[in-house]
Amino acid sequence: MQFDSFSDFLTMGGHGVYVWTVYGIALLVLSALVITPLRRDRRFFVEQSMLLRRDRTVDRKTTDIDSE
C-alpha cells in the first residue's frame, strides 16, 4: 500500500481529482460499450419472438380455412 489512510488514497496528494475522473469516465464509457449490444440482443429476441408467434397464429388460421 502506498497510502497511509483512505482519505489520502482519495486525494492522492492533490491529484485525486484528475486520477479519479479518468478512472470514472473510463469505467462509464467501457460499461456503455458492453451494455449496448446486450440490450440490443434482448430487445431483438423479445420483438422477434412476438413476430414469430403472430406468424404462427396467422398460419394456423389460414390452414383452418383451407381445410374447411
Partner: protein, 245 residues
C-alpha cells in the same frame, strides 16, 4: 486453411463458436482489469517527479494501444470486405468503429487530464495529440458514413475505403514524437530494448494493457454477434434460436 477461412465466413458457425468463447474471455478480462487497477491505483509506488497523477498511465497507455490496434483490425477487415466481399469482415469493420471511438475518447480525455497537472495545460496542438484527435474523427467518420447510406452494400464499400485511406494516420501517430518536436514524451515501453520503467510500475501497466486488449476482443464479439442476429433474422438458424428462447 481454406475450409477454416470458408467456415469463418459463415455467420452461423461464428455465432456458435464465439458463444462458447464469450464467458472465458469475459472472466479473463474482468480479472485482469480488476487486478491491474488495484495494483496501479494503490500498490504501485508514486512517481518521484509527477506524483500520483502518473497513475493515469494505467488507463491512458492501454487505451491508446487498443485504439490504434482497433483501427488496424478495422482496416484489415475493410480490405477483406473490398476484395472477397466476406460478410463477417463487413460486420467486424462496422463494429470496430464505435469500440475504437470509445477507446480513443478515453485516450484523449485521460491524456488531457494528465496534461493539466503535468504540463499545466489540458491541450496543445502538437503532432501526437492532433494525430490522435484525427484518429477519433476517422472512427466517427466511419460511423456517420455508414448511417448515411440506405443500403448496406454501398455503405460498407464507402466505409471500407475511408478506413483504408485513414490507416496512413497510424504510422503518423506512432512516429509523431520522433518526427516533430513534441511536448509528449516518447514511448516508455519498447519491444526491442529494456524498458525505462521500474518493474513495480511496469507490471500493473502490462496487466492493464493485456486486460484492455481482452476487453476489445470481448466487445468485438458482443457487437458482431448482435449485428449478425439482426442481419440473419430471416434465416432458419436464427428463427430456431428465437423459438428456443
Amino acid at each position: 486453411m481454406w475450409t477454416f477461412f470458408h467456415k469463418m465466413g459463415s455467420p452461423r458457425w461464428y455465432y456458435q463458436i464465439s458463444g462458447q468463447w464469450l464467458p472465458w474471455i469475459a472472466f479473463v478480462t474482468v480479472s485482469l482489469l480488476v487486478v491491474g487497477s488495484i495494483w496501479g491505483l494503490a500498490i504501485a509506488p508514486m512517481d518521484f517527479r509527477q506524483g500520483n497523477s502518473y497513475r493515469i498511465i494505467y488507463i491512458h497507455v492501454p487505451s491508446v494501444f487498443v485504439a490504434m490496434s482497433g483501427y488496424m483490425v478495422m482496416a484489415i477487415a475493410a480490405a477483406i470486405t473490398l476484395i472477397w466481399k466476406m460478410k463477417l469482415a463487413e460486420v467486424v469493420m462496422k463494429c470496430c468503429a464505435p469500440i475504437g471511438a470509445g477507446m480513443t475518447f478515453i485516450a484523449l480525455l485521460s491524456g488531457s487530464l494528465w496534461g493539466k497537472p503535468t504540463w499545466g495545460t489540458y491541450w496543445v496542438w502538437d503532432a501526437r495529440l492532433t494525430s490522435v484527435l484525427i484518429l477519433f474523427f476517422l472512427y466517427l467518420g466511419v460511423i456517420a458514413l455508414y448511417e448515411a447510406f440506405e443500403d448496406n452494400i454501398s455503405a460498407s464499400k464507402a466505409c471500407a475505403i475511408l478506413s483504408l485511406v485513414g490507416s496512413v494516420n497510424i504510422p503518423i501517430i506512432h512516429w509523431s514524437v520522433e518526427w516533430w518536436n513534441s511536448l509528449h514524451q516518447p514511448a516508455t515501453l519498447k519491444l526491442t530494448e529494456e524498458s525505462t520503467m521500474h518493474p513495480d510500475m511496469l507490471y500493473p501497466l502490462l496487466i492493464m494493457i493485456a486486460g484492455l486488449y481482452c476487453l476489445f476482443a470481448l466487445l468485438l464479439l458482443l457487437h458482431t454477434r448482435s449485428e449478425i442476429l439482426v442481419r440473419e433474422r430471416g434465416t432458419k438458424w436464427v428463427k430456431e434460436l428465437i423459438a428456443a428462447k
